[in-house]
């Protein structure tokens, strides 16, 4: 029952599988991105209060969603690697960190660009902004720990523990900061009753969110493949690969 799982959990098979999948995911990303940007920038109407400047939300909101999502992927992959010693999931966790940090930074940067005309200030110490900033710190800590430990096995396991401690802490940080100060507008899509966002704006937002997800999958696979080659540089299949590629050149 678990055989296919174990098969793709080996570095070599994951390398091959991701090689065939990456162009597909890349293509889907491009289509979704074009669709999302076109509907968002040209078809969606201007907001009656915020004018055209609300359109930055089509980048801002998906990257804010991704910043949390990637941390969860990273922590789950770390957990799987820690418990079942699956090498590929260690590699996935490691490859997640810079991507998650970039999404978090993008969410902060676009938010601050939007905040200047809307709130009249680049930065306010609002709850959601602050917890996003702390999330960025958590990512940077994880990356720093990963790069400080030379042995990859140890680095992966130490990173997994840190990510899991972070997962327990994220809700605590989130609610403590929320309680500390709130100015950011409330959630408009995830409310349980009908979303308070118009469909013409919701569609581009969801398209962009999907595009960000597939973009993440694409780049994650690219990074993971590179990591696999580095980790298994001494194994015979990588050396064979290097030899055939070298002969082609």
């Amino acid at each position: 029952m678990f055989e296919p799982f174990y098969k793709y959990a080996s570095g070599q098979h994951f390398y091959k599988l991701s090689k065939t999948l990456t162009p597909w995911f890349g293509g889907i990303t491009a289509l979704l991105l074009i669709g999302g940007l076109y509907t968002g920038l040209f078809l969606a109407p201007a907001d009656y209060q915020q004018g055209d400047s609300y359109r930055i939300m089509f980048i801002h909101v998906p990257s804010a969603w991704m910043s949390m999502f990637v941390y969860m992927v990273m922590a789950s992959a770390g957990f799987v690697g820690l418990i079942w010693r699956v090498k590929v999931s260690d590699i996935v966790a490691r490859a997640c960190a810079p991507l998650g940090a970039s999404f978090t930074f993008l969410a902060l940067a676009t938010g601050s660009i939007w905040g200047k005309p809307m709130w009249g200030s680049w930065w306010v110490w609002d709850a959601r902004l602050t917890s996003e900033l702390i999330l960025l710190f958590l990512y940077l800590g994880y990356i720093a720990l990963q790069s400080a430990i030379e042995d990859r096995r140890t680095a992966a396991r130490a990173g997994a523990v840190l990510a899991l401690v972070g997962v327990i802490n994220i809700p605590i940080i989130h609610y403590s900061v929320e309680w500390w100060n709130t100015l950011h507008q409330g959630p408009t899509v995830t409310k349980f009753d009908t979303p308070s966002i118009h469909t013409s704006m919701l569609i581009p937002l969801l398209l962009m969110a999907a595009a960000f997800k597939t973009y993440f999958a694409t780049v994650l696979m690219l990074r993971a493949r590179c990591e696999i080659l580095e980790t298994e540089a001494k194994s015979s299949w990588v050396q064979n690969l290097a030899r055939t590629k070298g002969a082609e050149l």
């Binding site: 702390i134 720093a144 400080a148 523990v161 840190l162 940080i173």
Partner: protein, 227 residues
């Protein structure tokens, strides 16, 4: 079999750590001196106006407590790791989690607990009202054990590295933020004469949570660092 039980093993760890600290008094005095110096820099930077200082005091004292705890955390496992004691502890048939808890408690008594006591003096220097000083000490009493326990996880992860000073601070400080928020809010409310028990309950809840989970995570991290 009394000398072989878990309780006596923990007692032995405690006794050993206290003896070591008493033989190296600098390890005891330096973090506290550091704490006092950081706090006394603020009036010099902000001016001696009592009402400003009173307003900023909880934040100043708590941030100083966070930084001085972070600076002193590294000592909790470092020398034991270097001379092999830690390896013996992990290999012994006693639960590593319990032994780690004993070590954290010993470390807290000579750092966090001292900070809690000295904070009364610093609160007076920064013109905090007497009632707020009591609340400040109460928040430190609840909060500093959390700092020690969460910090111990990060120290356990970095103990195998030759130099971990700044990296350790980078890992620890973001995790300390909830404690900082609840503790300073409690003291600020006490200064203003408002209710502060809600924040204290939150701190107590965090204390219980870290008592339950942190020693397990620390023990696991030590085993990872040992390879």
């Amino acid at each position: 079999m009394s000398h072989n039980s878990l309780t006596s093993a923990c007692a032995a760890v405690l006794r050993r750590d206290f003896t070591l600290i008493m033989r190296h008094r600098n390890d005891l005095i330096n973090p506290i001196t550091f704490f006092v110096i950081i706090v006394s820099l603020f009036p010099l930077a902000l001016g001696p106006d009592p009402s400003t200082l009173r307003q900023l005091a909880p934040g100043i004292i708590w941030v100083a407590a966070l930084i001085s705890t972070t600076m002193s955390m590294d000592a909790i496992f470092r020398s034991d790791f270097e001379d092999g004691t830690l390896e013996q502890m992990i290999m012994s048939h006693h639960s590593t989690t319990a032994l780690v808890m004993a070590k954290i408690f010993a470390h807290w008594l000579v750092t966090g607990f001292l900070v809690t006591i000295v904070a009364a003096l610093l609160g007076t220097l920064l013109h905090l009202p007497l009632k707020a000083i009591w609340v400040l000490q109460l928040t430190l009493l609840f909060g500093t054990p959390i700092l020690s326990m969460v910090g111990a996880i990060a120290v356990a992860l970095t103990v195998g590295l030759p130099r971990s000073g700044v990296l350790l601070a980078l890992l620890i400080l973001p995790l300390y933020i909830p404690v900082l928020i609840f503790a300073t809010a409690a003291v600020n409310n006490a200064t203003l004469g408002l209710a502060f028990n809600g924040q204290l309950y939150f701190l107590a809840a965090l204390l219980v949570l870290s008592l339950t989970l942190a020693p397990i995570a620390t023990a696991a991290s030590l085993r990872i660092s040992m390879g």
